[in-house]
C-alpha cells in the first residue's frame, strides 16, 4: 500500500470556529451542549432535548458574508473547515486543482433548506418555492460548494453512514489515493442542526432528555487534508500524522438499532490495530465513540477491556460536541493535532460505532 499522510486538519465546532479554539475549550472542560428553547412551549415538550449548536457564527475571514448569505449552514461550515485545513497544510491549489478532491460525510446537510422548501410548497404553493433554495437541499451541497469556492476539480463524493460517515470517507479516500485518482483529498464531514428535525427526534425519544439517556445532536464541520506520501514529500509538506488504518466491521441489524455486541466492536478495533501494525500498548489515546447511548457506550467499554490490558488515555468529546458525522471528523482532526504536537503519543485510535450496526475504527500514527 502507498503511504498516506495527513498534512492539515481543521474543525468548526460548537466550542470554537477552528481546531485550536476547540482544543483549548475541550482542555478547559467546556461543553457546547445547551438547552433548546423553542416553540412549541415547554408544556408540549416534556422531553426537552438539549443540543450542541454553533451560535453567532461568522464565515469571515474564510468566506465573505455576501457569498455566505445564499448558502445553507452545512455548506458554510464546510467551506470554512476546508479552507482552514488547506491553510494548515500550506497547500497551494493553483496548478493542483484536478489532482485534488473532497470526500465529506454528512447526516443532516440540507435539512434547513429542505424544511424551508417544503414550507414554501405547502403554504405558498409550488410556484412560490424558491429555485435558489433547492440545490442546497441535497446533502452533497457542502462538498460541491467547497469545490466551487476552492476550485477542487478532482473526485467529489458525499457519504452518509449514520455517525461514522467521516471514517467511511477516509476509507474511500484511501482507496482513491491507492488507485492514483488524486494526490490530495480533503476528508471530513459537515452537518447542520435543524429545529424541526430536533423536535421530531425528541418526540420519538431518539435523543437525550430530562427523562432518558441518549445522544445529543451536534453540528459543525471538520476536515483533514490526506495526501499520497510521495506527492506530499515532493511539495515539501510537513507531515502531521499518518493514516495507519481504517476498517469497517458492520453488524446486520435494523437501521435504528443502537444495540452493539462487544465482540463485534472488538473485532473492528482489533482489525484496525492489525492493519496499522500497532500493538495495543503503543496506543497513547483513544477517541471514544461514546455519545451517551447506554447500549453502545457499554459495549465499547467491554470491547476496549478485551483489547487493552491497561486502558490508554481516553477522550469522549461527543459529551461536549454532540453527535453527528461532523463529530467523528472532529475526532480525527483532534487525533491529528495530538500526534502533530505530541508525537510521543504514538498512535491514536478513533472509534465510530453508529446505529444500524455501522461500526468503524481508524488508527492514526505519528508521521
Amino acid at each position: 500500500m502507498r503511504g498516506i499522510v495527513v498534512t492539515g486538519a481543521s474543525a468548526v465546532t460548537p466550542l470554537g470556529r477552528d481546531l485550536a479554539a476547540t482544543r483549548a475549550a475541550l482542555a478547559e472542560g467546556l461543553s457546547g451542549v445547551a438547552p433548546v428553547d423553542a416553540e412549541p412551549s415547554s408544556a408540549e415538550r416534556p422531553e426537552r432535548s438539549p443540543a450542541a449548536r454553533i451560535v453567532s457564527f461568522t464565515t469571515e475571514p474564510e468566506l465573505p458574508k455576501m457569498k455566505a448569505r445564499r448558502l445553507d449552514r452545512a455548506s458554510q461550515y464546510a467551506v470554512v473547515a476546508a479552507k482552514q485545513a488547506l491553510a494548515d497544510a500550506r497547500y497551494a491549489m493553483a496548478g493542483r486543482e484536478e489532482r485534488t478532491g473532497i470526500l465529506l460525510g454528512t447526516g443532516s446537510a440540507g435539512a434547513g433548506p429542505l424544511v424551508e422548501f417544503e414550507r414554501q410548497m405547502a403554504l405558498e404553493g409550488p410556484d412560490a418555492a424558491s429555485p435558489f433554495l433547492f440545490p442546497y437541499t441535497v446533502s452533497n451541497a457542502p462538498a460541491s460548494v467547497a469545490a466551487i469556492e476552492l476550485q477542487i476539480r478532482g473526485p467529489n463524493v458525499t457519504i452518509t453512514q449514520k455517525d461514522p460517515a467521516a471514517l467511511n470517507a477516509l476509507l474511500y479516500a484511501r482507496l482513491m489515493l491507492e488507485r492514483g485518482r488524486a494526490d490530495a483529498l480533503l476528508v471530513g464531514a459537515s452537518d447542520e442542526w435543524n429545529l424541526d428535525y430536533h423536535l421530531a427526534y425528541e418526540r420519538i425519544h431518539a435523543t437525550r432528555s430530562r427523562k432518558r439517556a441518549g445522544f445529543v445532536l451536534g453540528e459543525g464541520a471538520a476536515c483533514l487534508l490526506v495526501e499520497d506520501e510521495d506527492a506530499a514529500r515532493a511539495r515539501g509538506a510537513v507531515f502531521r500524522a499518518r493514516v495507519a488504518s481504517v476498517v469497517m466491521r458492520p453488524a446486520a441489524v435494523s437501521p435504528q438499532v443502537r444495540r452493539a455486541d462487544p465482540e463485534r466492536l472488538a473485532a473492528a478495533i482489533r482489525a484496525a490495530l492489525d492493519e496499522a501494525g500497532v500493538e495495543p500498548a503503543a496506543v497513547g489515546l483513544v477517541h471514544l465513540s461514546r455519545n451517551g447511548v447506554p447500549e453502545t457506550d457499554e459495549a465499547e467499554a467491554r470491547a476496549l477491556e478485551q483489547i487493552f490490558p491497561r486502558l490508554p488515555r481516553t477522550a469522549a468529546v461527543k459529551e461536549a460536541l454532540g453527535e453527528n458525522p461532523c463529530a467523528g471528523a472532529t475526532q480525527m482532526a483532534l487525533a491529528v493535532a495530538e500526534l502533530s504536537e505530541r508525537p510521543e503519543t504514538g498512535a491514536v485510535l478513533v472509534n465510530a460505532f453508529g446505529a444500524g450496526g455501522n461500526f468503524l475504527s481508524a488508527v492514526f500514527s505519528r508521521p
Binding site: P126, F134, S139, A147, N156, T158, Q161, M248, S254, G356
Partner: protein, 417 residues
C-alpha cells in the same frame, strides 16, 4: 496538470483482482424486475404517466415515471410497516440480483460481502407528510415517527440486515451521480481485496421535494421528456432501483457463475463551476470520461456504445454532446449514444444504477435501447441517438454517464466478459 496526469498514468493496483457482474435486479416504471424493464426499453415503451403519489395539480409538470405497483420486499409484515417506498424497491431489486447471481448465501462468508448504494430521497415522502401535517395542524397532529426513514442509508442497512451481510457498507449521496459513484466504490472494495462480492447500485423514489425542486428551476418538461430533441424542454422525474452483484472475477469463474459483463473502471470529478448549471463547453464532462477511460484501460476506439446522461434539459444535452466529442474525438459520432431517460425518466440518485443495468444488458444481448420521442434533430446534439427504435449492435465496451448538481460527474465503463 493534465499532462502530468497522463504521464504518470495509474498506480499499479496492489492486486490484479478484476470485477465482474454476476447478478442483476431492477424495479422501474417499466416493470418490477430486470427482464420486464429491459423488454420495455428494447420495445421503446415509456414508463411516464400522471403522478399518483401526491397531488401534482398545482405543479407545472404533472408527469413522472412512477413504479406502478410496489413489489413484495420479502419481509415480515412487522418489518414491512417500517419500510419506506425506497426500501421496498431496493430490497426487491436486491433479492432479484442475489438470486440471479446464483450465490448460495448459506455457504458464503458474510464478512466478505459488502453493500454500496447511491441514495437520496429515501423516506422523504413520509417525512413530507410529517412536515405538511405539522404546518397545517400543529405538532400534536403530526406523527414524528414518519421522519425515521429519512436518512439516505436506511436502504443499505436494510439490505445488509435482510441477508446478514457483514462486509463494508456505504451510501453515496451526490444527487444524480450517486449510484454511478457507488458502483465505483464497490469495484474498488473488490479490487483492493476488502470484499469478494458487493451488492451495488441504488434506489430512489419520487417525492414532492425533488419533483417540486426541478419544477421551481423550470428544469422539467410539462410533457414527457425528449432527450436530444431540438424541442426538448426539460426532464421528467422518475423512480427506480437498480442492483448489480459485483464479484471478484477469479472467484466467480471458480464457482462457475454466469458472468454477464466486466466492470472495467470509472472516473469521478467535479467541474467546480455552478450548483445547477453544467460547464457549457463540455470540457468538465470530457475530463470525467477521460478519467474513466484511463481507469478502465480503454481507448476511444474501444467504446462501442454510450448510455448518455441526457436529462433532456436545454443545457445538459449539448454540453454532454460536446463532452463526448472532446473525449472520444471522431468516435463520438460513429457510435450509438442513447437516452433511456426518455422511457424511465430521470431516476435521480438511482439513475446511474438503473442505467448501468441497461448498459450491462446492452453488452450482454447486443441490443442498444432507443431514445424515444425523438423527432427534431438538434445540430447541437448531432450524435447517433438511436432514434425511436432499438438496434442490434455488437458492443465490446460501453460507457454510462452521470452528471449531477454541484458539478459531480461520474462515468462508468463496462465490457464484454
Amino acid at each position: 496538470m493534465r499532462e502530468r496526469v497522463a504521464d504518470r498514468g495509474l498506480a499499479p493496483p496492489v492486486t490484479d483482482r478484476r470485477v465482474v457482474v454476476t447478478g442483476l435486479g431492477a424495479v422501474s416504471s417499466l416493470g418490477n424486475d430486470a427482464k420486464t424493464t429491459w423488454e420495455g426499453l428494447v420495445a421503446g415503451r415509456s414508463g411516464i404517466g400522471p403522478i399518483t403519489l401526491f397531488d401534482a395539480s398545482a405543479f407545472r409538470t404533472k408527469l413522472a415515471a412512477e413504479v406502478k405497483s410496489l413489489p413484495d420486499p420479502g419481509v415480515s409484515p412487522a418489518v414491512r410497516r417500517r419500510l419506506s417506498r425506497t426500501d421496498v424497491i431496493g430490497l426487491a431489486a436486491a433479492a432479484e440480483a442475489l438470486a440471479d447471481s446464483g450465490l448460495d448465501l448459506q455457504r458464503e462468508n458474510p464478512e466478505r460481502i459488502g453493500v454500496v448504494l447511491g441514495a437520496g430521497v429515501s423516506g422523504l415522502l413520509d417525512s413530507e407528510r410529517y412536515f405538511r401535517t405539522l404546518l397545517a395542524e400543529g405538532p400534536r397532529a403530526a406523527r414524528p415517527t414518519l421522519v425515521r426513514n429519512h436518512p439516505p442509508d436506511q436502504t443499505t442497512d436494510r439490505i445488509a440486515e435482510r441477508w446478514g451481510l457483514l462486509g463494508p457498507r456505504s451510501t453515496i449521496t451526490t444527487a444524480c451521480s450517486s449510484s454511478a459513484t457507488s458502483l465505483g466504490y464497490a469495484a474498488d472494495l473488490i479490487r483492493y481485496g476488502l470484499c469478494d462480492v458487493v451488492v451495488a447500485g441504488g434506489a430512489d423514489t419520487l417525492a414532492r421535494l425533488t419533483h417540486g425542486g426541478f419544477n421551481a428551476l423550470r428544469a422539467t418538461d410539462p410533457d414527457p421528456c425528449r432527450p436530444f430533441d431540438r424541442e426538448r424542454k426539460g426532464m421528467t422525474v422518475g423512480e427506480a432501483a437498480g442492483i448489480l452483484v459485483f464479484e471478484d472475477e477469479e472467484r466467480a469463474r471458480r464457482r462457475g457463475a454466469r458472468i454477464r459483463v466486466r466492470f472495467l473502471g470509472y472516473g469521478v470529478t467535479c467541474d467546480a463551476h455552478h450548483m445547477t448549471q453544467p460547464e457549457p463547453g463540455g470540457e468538465a464532462g470530457a475530463r470525467t470520461i477521460r478519467a474513466c477511460l484511463r481507469d478502465a484501460g480503454l481507448n476511444p476506439e474501444h467504446v462501442d456504445y454510450v448510455n448518455a446522461h441526457a436529462t433532456a434539459t436545454p443545457q445538459n444535452d449539448p454540453a454532454e454532446t460536446a463532452a463526448l466529442k472532446r473525449a472520444l474525438g471522431g468516435r463520438a459520432k460513429e457510435i450509438p449514444v442513447s437516452a433511456v431517460k426518455s422511457m424511465l425518466g430521470h431516476c435521480l440518485c438511482s439513475a446511474g444504477a438503473i442505467e448501468a443495468v441497461a448498459t450491462v444488458l446492452t453488452i450482454a444481448t447486443g441490443v442498444v435501447p432507443p431514445t424515444i420521442r425523438y423527432e427534431h434533430p438538434d445540430p447541437e446534439c448531432d450524435l447517433d441517438v438511436v432514434p425511436n427504435v432499438a438496434r442490434e449492435v455488437r458492443v465490446r465496451a460501453a460507457l454510462s454517464n452521470s452528471f449531477a448538481f454541484g458539478g459531480n460527474s461520474t462515468v462508468v465503463a463496462f465490457g464484454a466478459a
